[in-house]
């Protein structure tokens, strides 16, 4: 009854031909019909290009993916990766500036006062008069620097070009910059974005820091985000996955433009990036333009990324969060990491529990016992670069409580440890995985993101297809074994959202 995902792919891209331009030496075209015919090319400075032609509409989707996330920040400077991402919309030496030489001096003045202000505010006993004077001086310096800004020119350039979905995202693992443009804007993108990543100027830094603080407050107002943050910060005690990507408020208050510039210099190098280009393009032209605009970007050696390993948990952690909202539940079990062979049966275990209405959580907890409004799971959170968490997220349906729901969830998990799932359950999961692989090809921005992320973070743009192969090899008893090994009480952290005590 199984079907093969991979044969249809042949036809998906069978029409592709590279007649327009001759690919340069070093460019390779994926020929294995298991995969889409992605063109790969690496510039001398290490910037990796992945190009896929799709011609239904005259548009192109771009994803610039850097292997740098909150995990790469330092203790005391949480949130820096994300704040830099915001700053990457503030222009360059020539974009957003009326004249960089004068602006540079004005920005230096702002920075000098900002550092004094932060030092005073962080003192054991801040001098209120001094703080007030420095704040005034800071406001005056910012007003002076404003005179040299061509406001929002970077954003307006893209707006006029007809950008769609321009955005950026920072996770604990990566930072990605995305946009889509009409297809005759390829060279405009190359020109602006190469300048963006080669010559950023972090103007309006301290205002943008306030914007990020508002973003943090928005998250603090949302019970779901609060539960996720509480889960992560309580699950990891040593590894930097413990830090919220948005950053701790106290760290945000002390981050400086100098910190962000150092961070940029360390991690925003071509040898740390993958650019995917998906849509109505000629790969040879993409490569030629990338050489022209990104070729001069200097490579630099990256720091080692070895961080404190998280010790084995060996204890159950139960956290009650009191918040004005109805009850909710998050559970995290330490997983062995995406490069560990056990991850495949664990992915399958997660799917057996929560894949669709025939998944066990829905069938037995939402229907069946009718305890849950929702109950679902996911095999790797918050990141994939280091061992992470298999998570369960659920909400009870009154009059049932989170505690009852937790007990029922653990009972479902325990059952999985002793009774291996049926072959039908496994086949269903594989069928869905394979169908997803086909459907993900329909969206240019979605596919572009997945190619770039898999290449830069997981080490191969073919990663999703290859995981499919691994999942197909998993036997029912492997799943029970993985559940018994990882989904245990002493390997879990459970966060209960509770209504405030009266």
């Amino acid at each position: 009854m199984r079907f093969s995902l991979l044969l249809p792919c042949l036809m998906l891209f069978g029409q592709t031909a590279f007649a327009k331009g001759q690919l340069p030496p070093g460019a390779t075209v994926e020929k294995d019909p298991k995969y889409p015919p992605v063109v790969s090319y690496t510039l001398k400075n290490g910037l990796k290009l992945l190009i896929l032609e799709k011609h239904f509409v005259p548009t192109i989707s771009f994803t610039m993916m850097f292997k740098v996330g909150n995990v790469d920040g330092q203790q005391g400077k949480t949130g820096l990766a994300h704040l830099f991402e915001h700053m990457a919309f503030k222009g360059t030496k020539t974009i957003n500036s009326k004249g960089y030489a004068k602006e540079k001096a004005a920005l230096a003045k702002v920075e000098e006062i900002a550092r004094k202000l932060i030092a005073e505010e962080s003192a054991a006993k801040p001098d209120a008069a001094k703080v007030e004077a420095l704040r005034k001086a800071m406001a005056a310096a910012e007003t002076e620097a404003d005179k040299h800004i061509a406001k929002d020119e970077y954003l307006n350039l893209f707006k006029s070009l007809g950008e769609h979905g321009m955005n950026a995202m920072t996770s604990t693992d990566y930072t990605g910059y995305v946009t889509s443009l009409p297809s005759n804007r390829l060279e405009s993108w190359m020109a602006i974005e190469s300048d963006r990543f080669k010559n950023p100027v972090l103007r309006e830094f301290y205002r943008e820091r306030n914007v990020v603080m508002e973003e943090r407050r928005m998250g603090e107002s949302d019970p779901n985000r609060l539960m996720w943050e509480t889960l992560v910060t309580n699950s990891f005690v040593a590894h930097p996955y413990q830090n919220p990507t948005i950053g701790w408020m106290d760290d945000l208050k002390r981050l400086t433009r100098t910190d962000a510039e150092e961070f940029y210099k360390t991690f925003y190098v071509p040898n740390n990036a993958t650019l995917s280009v998906v849509g109505d393009v000629d790969p040879a032209e993409v490569i030629a333009l990338a050489e022209k605009y990104f070729g001069g970007w200097q490579a630099r050696e990256l720091p080692p990324r070895t961080y404190t390993k998280e010790p084995p948990q060996k204890s159950e952690r139960i956290v009650n969060v009191f918040f004005k909202a109805k009850p909710g539940l998050r559970i995290g079990f330490k997983n062995p990491g995406m490069d560990h062979p056990d991850i495949y049966p664990l992915i399958m275990a997660s799917e057996v529990l929560s894949n669709g209405k025939t998944g066990r959580f829905y069938k037995n907890l939402v229907e069946g016992k009718q305890l849950a409004l929702v109950a679902a799971s996911s095999p790797s959170f918050p990141g994939n670069r280091y061992p992470s968490l298999m998570v369960v997220y659920a909400a009870p349906k009154a009059p049932h409580t989170s505690e009852e729901l937790d007990a029922a969830i653990m009972a479902e998990i325990d059952k999985l440890k002793t009774e291996p799932p049926t072959q039908w359950e496994l086949d269903k999961i594989i069928n869905n995985y394979e169908a997803e692989m086909i459907k993900q090809l329909e969206s240019n921005p979605g596919l572009g993101m997945s190619l770039a992320q898999n290449d830069r973070i997981m080490g191969d743009w073919r990663y999703d297809w290859n995981v499919g192969e691994e999942l197909r090899k998993v036997k029912p008893e492997d799943i029970s074994r993985a559940a018994a090994k990882y989904l245990t009480r002493d390997n879990r952290t459970a966060v209960f959202l509770q209504e405030p005590l009266k």
Partner: protein, 458 residues
């Protein structure tokens, strides 16, 4: 090439390549009416072995009986989940999930939907389920209980996310809790709904002559697809559909302030003003005006520039105008810390006023126009999204060439049109303001913005 397909009007910094104009005409697709009145839009696309289908059924939450608000939504959610004459609920789930296909039914404010996604090889099997779901739902009693309990739980949780709650409650206060545009489900209206109500609702609205279908994908030839649709839906008889009368909208055009006190990190502010009816020709100029004021996907609108980028007061701030059969609304939104909420709100009011007082610079208007014109192509990223758009515009009563003339109509908007539109439609002095936030931390009392009505989370 056409005069209104725009080159980037913004002055480029030195050394950037010149951009050529961009001209895009959306493909047409085909439109066929079956004998029983079902309208079918289709577009063949064999790049992926997948078929997508959506049906738009003419009804919506606004058609619920007042004592049974939530009836439409429960009906839609049980079409599949409650089983059919031919298929038991668990058989439907097992078959669809094994085949990695999906059949999803839902109810919007002004439209009901039934969507299907299926791999080409399973089209016949899944279309058979889909058709039975639409035509012959059984509404199993035990499944109704689960869905009803779920709806009640959602009511209990409706203030959990304060940003969403602010928008919903603001619209409720704006149109009045008694008008369908301001309705929300209540415990009593959900509990009043019976299986017979679901059956009667289905029998009235789910008729072939009340449905527009859009299909795209690898379905073989047009003739093959139509044969399949006829064999599944051909015997479904036409019939009369009764629609309830929706009372006319009454909007108090005077400043009012509503507040729900809640100790959370941000204050959520929603500002509402009277908007336009759906086919008002001002819509093109309004789209450009809103793009300048608070629209667009980017951060370059005036609200984003002033409240967010220049003053660091918010992460989220935007505006939009919603069209409805009767008067729609214009909404301004901002999430900001309570200690500075009045600065953000004052700035928002100021920006709504300013754009109706001073003509926007020609360059700013050109940029907003270019943004809409040049990004028009992104409404049609796939054949299915293209053909669905065509079906949706017919459903909402637009002329068949609406999408084809859209760009030309937007391109006519000049600074004078923006000024006139803002003058006509933006009256912030009459705006209703709704705030959820911790008043103990407010930098100014809300009463400085108008007479305040205190509300509770209910």
């Amino acid at each position: 090439m056409t005069i209104f397909s725009a080159a980037a009007a913004y002055a480029l910094p030195p050394n950037l390549p010149k951009t050529a104009p961009f001209d895009f005409r959306p493909p047409q697709g085909e439109r066929i009416t079956l004998e029983n009145g079902m309208i079918v839009y289709l577009m063949k696309d064999n790049t992926m072995p997948v078929v997508h289908l959506t049906a738009i059924i003419r009804t919506g939450k606004i058609n619920d009986p007042v004592e049974k608000i939530g009836l439409g939504e429960l009906t839609a959610s049980l079409l599949k989940d409650g089983g059919t004459l031919k298929y038991k609920p668990e058989d439907i789930d097992k078959t669809l999930e094994y085949l990695a296909a999906s059949v999803e039914t839902s109810m919007g404010v002004e439209e009901a939907r039934a969507d299907m996604t299926v791999l080409k090889k399973d089209l016949d099997a899944v279309l058979d389920i889909y058709a039975d779901v639409l035509m012959n739902p059984a509404f199993a009693e035990d499944k109704l209980k689960i869905k009803r309990d779920e709806a009640l739980e959602m009511i209990r949780r409706r203030f959990d996310n304060p940003g969403q709650a602010a928008t919903r409650e603001a619209l409720r206060a704006f149109y009045g809790a008694a008008h369908p545009y301001g309705w929300r489900t209540e415990e009593a209206t959900i509990k009043a709904i019976t299986t017979d109500d679901l059956k009667a609702y289905h029998a009235n609205y789910y008729k072939p002559n009340n449905i527009i279908v859009a299909v795209a994908g690898d379905f073989g030839s047009k003739e093959e697809l139509l044969e399949k649709l006829k064999s599944k839906f051909g015997t479904w008889p036409k019939g009369e559909v009764k629609f309830p009368a929706i009372p006319p909208v009454e909007i108090k055009e005077e400043r009012r302030v509503f507040h729900i006190d809640k100790d959370i990190s941000q204050a959520f502010i929603v500002m509402l003003q009277k908007g336009i009816k759906r086919h008002d020709p001002v819509e093109y100029a309004l789209t450009v005006t809103n793009e300048i004021l608070g629209g667009g996907s980017g951060l370059s609108s005036r609200l984003a520039a002033e409240i967010r980028s220049r003053r660091g007061l918010a992460y989220t701030t935007y505006s939009y105008s919603a069209k409805k059969p009767d008067y729609g609304y214009t909404l301004g939104y901002c999430g900001t810390k309570p200690e500075t909420y009045s600065q953000a709100l004052t700035e928002m009011i100021k920006q709504f006023k300013l754009i109706g007082e001073q003509p926007a610079p020609a360059e700013e208007v050109a940029m907003a126009r270019d943004s809409i014109v040049n990004s028009f192509v992104f409404r049609f990223p796939t054949p299915f999204e293209l053909i669905s758009e065509r079906a949706v515009y017919e459903y909402y009563g637009y002329k068949p060439d609406y999408l084809d003339n859209y760009v030309a109509n937007v391109a006519k908007t000049d600074p004078a049109a923006v000024l006139d539109t803002a003058k006509r439609l933006y009256k912030p002095e009459n705006a209703m303001i709704f705030v959820i936030g911790n008043s103990k931390k407010f930098d100014k009392p809300l009463s400085e913005f108008g007479p305040v009505t205190e509300l509770k989370e209910d």
